[in-house]
């Protein structure tokens, strides 16, 4: 019975004028998203239970596509590789971005917004060209190898940096850098500097203070950065195709092939649904683990 007043007030809210005015305003964008995002996602789910033989679409519901995914090891292999690459990309990007964001927030002085602008400039070049230019940098006769050979640091060109998973990680860690720097910077900016002084006055050393005060308080930014990078990178098929070679192909390449060359949209939909569920579970676990860690710190 305790919930009754709450329930009552939310029902009342549903019908009061303010709520109606708000709903009326938001209904157009909400309707747009329902029609063009929610409905298509449900349609994709439905399609994954249908089958297609060349051009003939069979609308009987079946789990055949999922059985196909379960029985051929190539799907599990691609999914595992995609998850590994995305996890490494997320880790590398956040680890590199954190000091950068920290530097801007703590040593940026009055030029913070200029620093942020400086960091976003490289990312307003065409995405395709940026990935392609990494191919030129990392290639056998590429910029990096010629420079290192010119400086006599290496004798033979390095070959482990192009057409494999390493190249994909480098190119993606570059492409997603601002998406990590910005949220971490925002979180660091919100930290009350007097808390850090208090920790120092109470005898915490720099390292201890960092792990007990700065890092836990910056965690919301780190979590946001990790999710914004981890989930979308799974769906990238351009980077693996341009710099990944055959050993760097990811699950999104398989989805793309099913929708074009292989002309098997239902199987493609099933792969996409499977990938989304797995990625969603990973993201959820990460958020829950992080919440537990933060509670232990507090």
């Amino acid at each position: 019975m305790q919930n009754f007043p709450g329930l009552f007030s939310s029902m009342a809210m549903m019908f009061d004028r303010e709520s109606r005015a708000g709903l009326k305003l938001v209904s157009t964008p909400f309707g747009f998203s329902l029609l063009l995002l929610a409905a298509p996602l449900l349609m994709m789910l439905l399609l994954s239970f249908w089958t297609q033989d060349y051009l003939v679409l069979d609308r009987t519901l079946t789990l055949d596509n999922y059985r196909e995914i379960g029985s051929h090891p190539v799907y599990a292999l691609l999914l595992k590789r995609s998850l590994t690459i995305s996890l490494i990309v997320t880790l590398v990007t956040v680890l590199l971005a954190f000091p950068m964001a920290y530097y801007i927030s703590f040593y940026g002085g009055k030029r913070k917004s200029l620093w942020l602008f400086l960091i976003t400039i490289p990312f307003w070049t065409s995405y395709l060209l940026r990935i392609f230019l990494w191919k030129i940098i990392l290639g056998y006769n590429g910029v990096l190898n010629s420079t290192l050979q010119g400086l006599s640091i290496i004798d033979e060109p390095l070959t482990f940096i192009l057409y494999n998973a390493n190249a994909v990680v480098i190119a993606l860690a570059h492409a997603w850098a601002p998406f990590a720097i910005l949220p971490i910077f925002v979180a660091l900016e919100k930290i009350d500097r007097s808390l850090l002084e208090a920790a120092r006055d109470l005898g915490d050393g720099a390292v201890r203070r960092f792990f007990r005060v700065t890092l836990p308080l910056a965690m919301p930014g780190i979590v946001a950065a990790a999710l914004i990078i981890f989930i979308p990178t799974i769906g990238d098929y351009v980077t693996p195709k341009l710099v990944g070679g055959t050993d760097g192909l990811m699950i999104a390449n398989m989805i793309q092939v099913q929708f074009s060359k292989a002309n098997n949209a239902p199987l493609g939909a099933a792969i996409a649904v499977t990938a989304m569920i797995v990625v969603g579970l990973f993201a959820l676990t990460f958020v829950l683990l992080n919440r537990r860690w933060l509670r232990r710190q507090a």
Binding site: P29, S33, Y107, I136, Q256, G268
Partner: protein
């Protein structure tokens, strides 16, 4: 406060990493060689001049401009409605509705593209620039909402109330008081939407049909080694244009912040 030396070195190296690809763009756009590799040959404007003969490029450019302008305008209009609702009113289901509108931010683009493609194919609709626009509005809208939400939140609510008290209708108040106040946010949302849409490839690739956008055109060119220097020149032009647009966007954003600060003081 000064940063430790090793810290400054790290920041320098990281910036070098961030700028490495972009720095190569002008180098190869002006390099007088059909091969994209070192050592450099000589200086030329030839690749830029060569672009003038690429008729498919101009078709793609026209498509891209239609898509980018329409996406920016539509996502800003929808963003105004959502941001105004969230900033001004408490309504039933506000939190889930707003989170749902922001969802494309963390959704892989391939999922957005493919799911839209499925529906369009099932409905038997043709793919053209308009189908690309639908997809782009979805991914631009979260950015528009975020920018406009802060613009509406910074706005002084007393001005709106004063306008209503002085006898203006709700409609007049919205168009003559509220909208001018959030104008810098509006411009900034339009520019961000335009730039995102202009560069978006993954969704456009699935939904473009026979009317390629600029990134889809670039993708088709990357397969031909002889076309690469021209692509570099094109990329360089686009970089300069983006920088001009973004500097303008930054200007409007700062103006919006300054306006808000000024009002708060009063």
């Amino acid at each position: 406060m000064r940063a430790p030396r090793s810290f400054t070195v790290f920041v320098g190296l990281y910036l070098l990493f961030l700028y490495a690809p972009v720095m190569l763009l002008p180098i190869f756009a002006f390099n007088d060689s059909a091969v994209i590799a070192f050592p450099l040959k000589g200086f030329t404007f030839g690749w830029f001049a060569g672009l003038a003969n690429e008729s498919t490029l101009f078709v793609a450019l026209k498509n891209s401009l239609i898509v980018a302008v329409s996406s920016a305008v539509l996502s800003t209009c929808l963003g105004v409605l959502a941001a105004r609702a969230a900033a001004r009113y408490e309504f039933f289901g506000k939190k889930p509705i707003m989170s749902f509108l922001m969802l494309p931010l963390v959704l892989p683009e391939i999922i957005v593209g493919v799911s839209l493609l499925i529906v369009l194919v099932q409905l038997g609709l043709d793919l053209n620039v308009w189908t690309v626009i639908l997809g782009h509005v979805l991914v631009c809208m979260p950015f528009s909402i975020a920018i406009l939400l802060s613009a509406f939140n910074n706005m002084d609510r007393f001005l709106e109330e004063a306008s209503l008290d002085l006898g203006a209708t709700r409609r007049e108040t919205f168009f003559r008081v509220i909208l001018p106040l959030v104008m810098p946010g509006l411009m900034s949302s339009l520019l961000i939407g335009f730039t995102i849409s202009l560069d978006e490839f993954i969704i456009a690739f699935f939904l473009t049909g026979t009317e390629p956008t600029l990134p889809v055109y670039i993708w088709s060119q990357l397969r031909f080694p002889s076309k690469l220097p021209g692509v570099m020149a094109l990329g360089f032009i686009m970089l300069i244009l983006s920088l001009v647009l973004l500097t303008a966007g930054e200007y409007f954003r700062n103006k919006s912040a300054a306006l808000a600060a000024h009002e708060n003081k009063q």
